[in-house]
Amino acid sequence: LRFSPSLIIAAFLLLESANIAFLHHNWRDKQEQYFAQQAISLETAYRSSVNMYALATEFVFNQVVNQPDVIDAFRAGINATDEEGKGAARGRLYRLLYPTYSKLKASNLRQFHFHLANGESFLRFHDPAKFGDSLFDIRPSIRLANTLKRPVLGFETGRVLSGFRYVYPIILNGEHLGSMEASVSFRAIRDAMAEIEHSREYAFLLRRDAVVSKLAEDQLSLYGEADLHTSYLVEDPNLKLPDSPPPPSKTVLALNAQLRGLPKVIEGMNAGRTMTVTAELNDKTWAATFLPVRNVEDRQVAYVVAYTEAPFAQTLWRDYLLWLGISSLSLLLVGLLVWRILRYQSELESEKQNLQAVTDTVADGLYAMDETGHLTMVNPAAETLLGFRESEVLGKIGHDIFHSHAVNNNLPKEQCPIYQRVTCAEPFDGEEIFARADGGTLQVEVASRAVLERDRVTGSVTVFRDITQRKKAEAALNEAKAAAETANRMKSEFLANMSHEIRTPMNGIIGLTRVALDGELEPGQRENLEMVSQSAHLLMTIINDILDFSKIEAGHLTVEKIPFRLQRTLDSAIQPLALRAAEKGLELRVEIDSCTPNSLLGDPVRLSQVVTNLIGNAIKFTQQGHILLKVRCLPDATDKLLEFCISDTGAGIPEDKLDSIFEAFSQVDASITRRFGGTGLGLAIVRNLVTLMGGTVSVESTLGVGSTFRFTLHCEAVAESEPQPHNGPVSIKPIGPLHLLLVEDNAVNRRLAVTLLGKAGHRVSVAEDGAEALALLLAKHDFDAVLMDVQMPVMDGMEVTRAVRAHEAIHHGHLPIIAMTANAMAGDRERFLATGMDDYVAKPISVGELFAALNRVICRD
């Protein structure tokens, strides 16, 4: 059933109408029965009363009237030939019966009347002056009694008043003399009825037409219109006559006011029906019962109306209302229940449809099973993925259909991991292989959940997703990653090789140029060689920049955290720059705030690189004026925050370029590169180095006024007394002359080293590769130290070192070995020291660094 409020309301209204109709009919039925009882009761009382007077008048007629002297007087009157005789007889009759008349009058007798056989009035005891008028026309009772010669009893209207007539023919020995009539008023009947049933109040209504047609002139004033109906009259409402009943009580007047105009009353009275109607008065129910009264000609000419309290009618009405209330309420409750059930059903249906729509449209396969694994639902996506129609698989064991196949060796249901989990009310999430209808398989990601009803597993719902594509993508990704990693490794190796390959000849160029410059030269030659030296240094800077940037890009650049002295680091960084500044006529000043700690923990090499880079830039872009480096310590909660500020009076940087100035390969414009040279990597390296060291860098610049670069560094301060292992004071003590073994495969570098060392007074033996070196070392034992190239043919430097150290482990002793290599990549130094070398000098060889290293290893030994 579909939930339809209007249908339910309609059904309710229909049932309620039927209910009301039934109960109403039932009530009406009972009420009619009750009314019928009322009417029967009234009619019985009425008939009894009328009959009572019939008996009484019959008694009077037989015992008083139909007596010889009375009949004789009447007969004398009839037979008298003269008026005097008639008068005497009439007088006698009057005299004889007056006592009887008086008594009857006291018993509500209205008329006592003798008529002749021809209908002529002979003597009216109630109106003796009137006589001789013919009565057959207007008094059917008299006509009937005298023509049929039998007593006629009944109600009849008259010339003046109406009454209940009792007419007896007077027959003496077969001679019809006339008739006697006794007539009683309604009051008499009413009193008699009251004797029988005193709880009622009675009224007597006369049909207007029946009264008026017979009424003598001017007598209408004796009548008044009935309250209940305009076509009815009441006799003597003003109580002019002594035998009129008392006026209606206030109750009856009030009831009449209610009943007047009621269609039932009007129509019923028009039709002359017996009926009972009710009215409410003073919280009580009253019944008015209408009993039609027929005249002697059997025409309905009047009504007796009985008013009585009708508590039973009220009870019936209350019962009706009570049952109506109870049944309506019950019906309403049932209706509401049906309403709720249907609405609930409808909501359930709607929810089901929504769920169906979701399961139908979801891209993942979805199926539901009962607790024994029989499929109860399969969504379209599952149909598509597996190739089964839902109708083919419903009711079948899902596992057997698509999860028991060659790939899992036709795994039985009981061992199915999904089934095992969900039957224990545990969730299953995993990857499985499902079989397709076409025999193929499908790699799927499965999520299965038990359906619980009161903690009991009643089934399960499983969602699965085709992950074939994802698996392929994952494989491809892994492959690509591996390839990328290989490529990266190759790049790193390439860079390392390039670095080595470039540095080796650069070592020769720079070193030998230095050697040449140290000798005697023509002024022109010196100038040329100086330029060669400068160019070589510049080239070295460029190569270092590129290598640094490569390392930064590859994430290989690391910063150290070692103790160093700020003053010294800055001095050594600025020294060469001061020379260049002086050459351009620029003033280079360094101002270090007095409260700045000198002994710090950090990476002095990278700090030098940043400062060199920024000051180098300043010198490059400043044509006149000065360059100022200011260092100060900023207050910071955790550790020392140093601020380095390099300002110049150079060209400045346009505002729109300030944001991109730290980007790689970015110079203010391309012309700068042409004018000032440089790779455009300097500032990018600066920013990366500062960031690596936990600081920030920024720039302010005004075009034509100058630029200010600021960077900050977090540096922990350390105690002044801590040793300064690196970059410390290179106090080269006069050592030697030493006997050194130079292991170098490159002839240029070999010559350079031999020249440099020889100039310092040392004796140098040479080996061209590792094997030769090892042979020399094992043969001779008078070497003070070995300067060992690392990358060599036949046997590399590390191999030689390991062999030497191995030998020394057995024969004791320690021969200092200094790596002298173009392997200047990060980590190289540590790698070499780990193999047993004592120190490290990067190519191209700086004379200072070389002798410092020598000094260190010799002094340590």
Binding site: A88, R92, Y94
Partner: protein, 277 residues
């Protein structure tokens, strides 16, 4: 126009209204209903208004009349005769006709059965109507005296109504009864006989107070009422249609001598209020 109206009604309504005394002991509503139309009619021809002066009994009326507080009274023959004796300014204006058209009537003594000499009634039981009724004690006593008898020799009782007197006699409850001749005859069909009858007597009349009313006004009333012939003229009948039954059948001019017959019947001035058995 206003002036014309003024001159048409010489007795302008500005004069004080005349005081009219109806019969005593009548319900004011009945009086108003029966008398007012006639007074309204008189007002038109008189140009003077009337007010109704109610009284509790005849004595009250006669007293007010003597004191000039009543200008016009509706009185029967006996009260008039009594009034006239004490107050000569009482002037009869009109007698009202009966339904028959007669302005006079007679009283009778009736018996059940055949007529017989009055002398036979000695010591009989006599039914009377009312003490002040002309056909009551007065005429019965007067008629008996003509036969050498008088009521005080008899047993008499007041039955109030003429019809009741007739029926009581018919029933034999009384030997004779005094009543209006017309009513007695109404029961002749029951064997009632008239044994004595008076000369014609004046009926009810309007009596004017000559001390308080000008002769012209009295004459105007007389003319106005005698001019109406309701029993002959339908237009006049329409005028009196709503008047009381005792006054609607027209009137004739009255004079004091009309009452001489009453004075003759009247042997004593004080008529007993109650019967003597």
């Amino acid at each position: 126009m206003l002036l014309a109206l003024w001159t048409t009604f010489p007795f302008a309504a500005c004069a004080a209204p005349f005081a009219f005394a109806p019969l005593p002991m009548e319900q004011p509503e009945t009086v108003v209903k029966q008398v007012k139309p006639m007074l309204a009619h008189l007002e038109k021809s008189l140009g003077n208004g009337f007010r109704i002066e109610f009284s509790t009994d005849y004595g009250d009326i006669l007293k007010k009349f003597s004191e000039g507080k009543v200008d016009l009274a509706y009185l029967g023959p006996l009260p008039y005769v009594a009034l006239k004796e004490k107050y000569p300014q009482a002037v009869p204006v009109v007698h009202f006709n009966e339904k028959s058209g007669k302005s006079t009537y007679t009283c009778a003594i009736v018996v059940a059965g055949e007529a017989m000499p009055l002398s036979k009634l000695k010591g009989a039981k006599i039914a009377l109507t009312q003490p002040l009724s002309t056909c009551g004690y007065l005429s019965t006593d007067g008629l008996l005296r003509q036969s050498g008898l008088n009521l005080e020799q008899m047993k008499y009782r007041y039955l109030d109504k003429h019809d009741e007197v007739a029926l009581a006699v018919t029933r034999g409850e009384f030997d004779a009864g005094g009543l209006k001749t017309a009513i007695g005859k109404k029961y002749s069909h029951m064997g009632l006989s008239v044994v004595a009858e008076t000369q014609p007597l004046p009926g009810f009349a309007l009596i004017a107070n000559a001390r308080t009313m000008k002769p012209e006004a009295i004459e105007a009333i007389r003319k106005s009422l005698t001019a109406l012939q309701p029993l002959k003229n339908t237009e006049d009948a329409e005028v009196t249609r709503t008047w009381g039954d005792n006054i609607k059948y027209g009137a004739v001019s009255a004079k004091d001598s009309d009452y001489d017959v009453v004075r003759r019947l009247r042997a004593r001035a004080d008529i007993p209020e109650d019967g003597n058995f």
